[in-house]
Subunit: 250 residues, 2 copies
């Protein structure tokens, strides 16, 4: 059976998250139902990583084995037709080797966290951003955030429920930029702990408000204790941006 | 009573349009209800212009007379608190002279029309863009669109229901640009006819697809007949961007 790589955009708002769960509709279940409608098979759609309820994706990646040798463009259009009732869109389909695995072949993941930073609440971007009314100093957030770049024990920014074997990760890039009323946090790493990006965003917001200095952020990281890490930013500002695989290294 | 100028963002999706109507909730009615909740008065909120059901605003302007001399920032926050149930946000409040009128003082209005131009449907921008799957040539749309700039009889792009006294208007600027998967039409004029922007967007889409040449667009304009004008673009791609008033001319 040919294996297909799917690049997927979704609005996380109506879903319980990426992963199949008994308590509501997940993005994975919606995709597997679309595959069943298209190919009349019960196939597992393997994602590159989970997202929490309310977290969005611009470029989640998954793979699935299909019993049909259709051209990738036809697979994309057929799955999108079956997904019409859901805010999920298959942006790209590629046929890949059978040793490709969306999760285990992934070399790097990137996320963006969007903060709407103005006095008035979001209307058009409700459910798409974290609304922070107090003025944020994006430059201070960026500068302090460089403390988090590199090889660290990220226990301070790790959810209690995290299933990773080790809290030690390498954060390859962190950038905070302002575009008008919006402050954006971009992060890139091989992998992230559960809630790591939202927890880092919550701490950096304290820096942006002037409630924390860079030294406070350093002390929080060094504490290796979630209780020292500040608030968890809400899910609706987070976007799973992209995944990089070895074949794209060139 | 002091007069306040409101700059308003809204998601047009859940509303019957800007103007109060018997058949459903309008943006105007939601604002007037918020004013009543804040000041216990039945005040009319005068908009700078109507928008159709489904059309969004980033910078609609309105004025209202309030029986309280509150500072503008307090008026903004209080109205936003009363609007919490609706996707409407007061971005700015300014106290203005009593001869200011949101509609009659307006010197210029600008709109953006957003087209998502890719094979896969929108997920995060559903209800926020016109999805066009066929490749659009934004350069050809821009070049042909310059035919519409200037002083013309725009009957071809005027809705049957339009209440303007004359179909002759001056279009001051039209620009079509591509930003990645998105094609954006920007227009600026003292005022527009009913459906004029959506009808121009529909015709320019035909140019972008290669179904119409610039000569076809010229012939459509010259026909002064709506039947010659091509399709009306759907409301959800249209954004009322801003209004310019004389005091800001400097």
């Amino acid at each position: 059976m040919p294996r297909f790589k799917l690049t997927i955009e979704y609005d996380g708002g109506p879903f319980v998250g990426w992963q199949r769960q008994a308590n509501g509709l997940s993005v994975q279940e919606a995709l597997e139902t679309a595959v069943a409608g298209y190919c009349q098979v019960d196939a597992v759609v393997h994602g590159s990583g989970r997202t929490d309820s309310g977290v969005h994706a611009l470029g989640q990646v998954a793979h699935v084995d299909l019993p049909r040798h259709d051209p990738p463009g036809k697979v994309r259009d057929a799955l999108n037709a079956h997904l019409r009732r859901h805010p999920i869109s298959i942006r790209q389909v590629e046929q890949v080797d059978e040793d490709f695995h969306a999760r285990f072949s992934a070399r790097e993941r990137s996320y963006v966290y969007r903060i709407l930073n103005r006095r008035s609440p979001p209307a058009l971007d409700a459910g798409r951003v974290w609304w922070v009314g107090a003025d944020l100093d994006a430059g201070a957030m960026h500068d302090a955030g460089q403390i988090l770049v590199g090889h660290h024990d990220f226990s301070t920014f790790r959810a209690k429920e995290c299933q990773a074997q080790s809290p030690v990760k390498t954060l390859d890039e962190l950038a905070v930029t302002r575009e008008g009323e919006e402050v954006r946090l971009f992060v890139r790493a091989r992998s992230f702990l559960h809630h790591q990006v939202r927890n880092m965003a919550g701490a950096l917001k304290l820096v942006g408000e002037g409630k924390w200095t860079a030294d406070d952020l350093q002390r929080a990281l060094d504490a290796r204790d979630r209780a020292a890490g500040g608030p968890t930013a809400p899910p609706q500002g987070l976007y799973f941006l992209s995944v990089r695989y070895p074949e794209h290294d060139a």
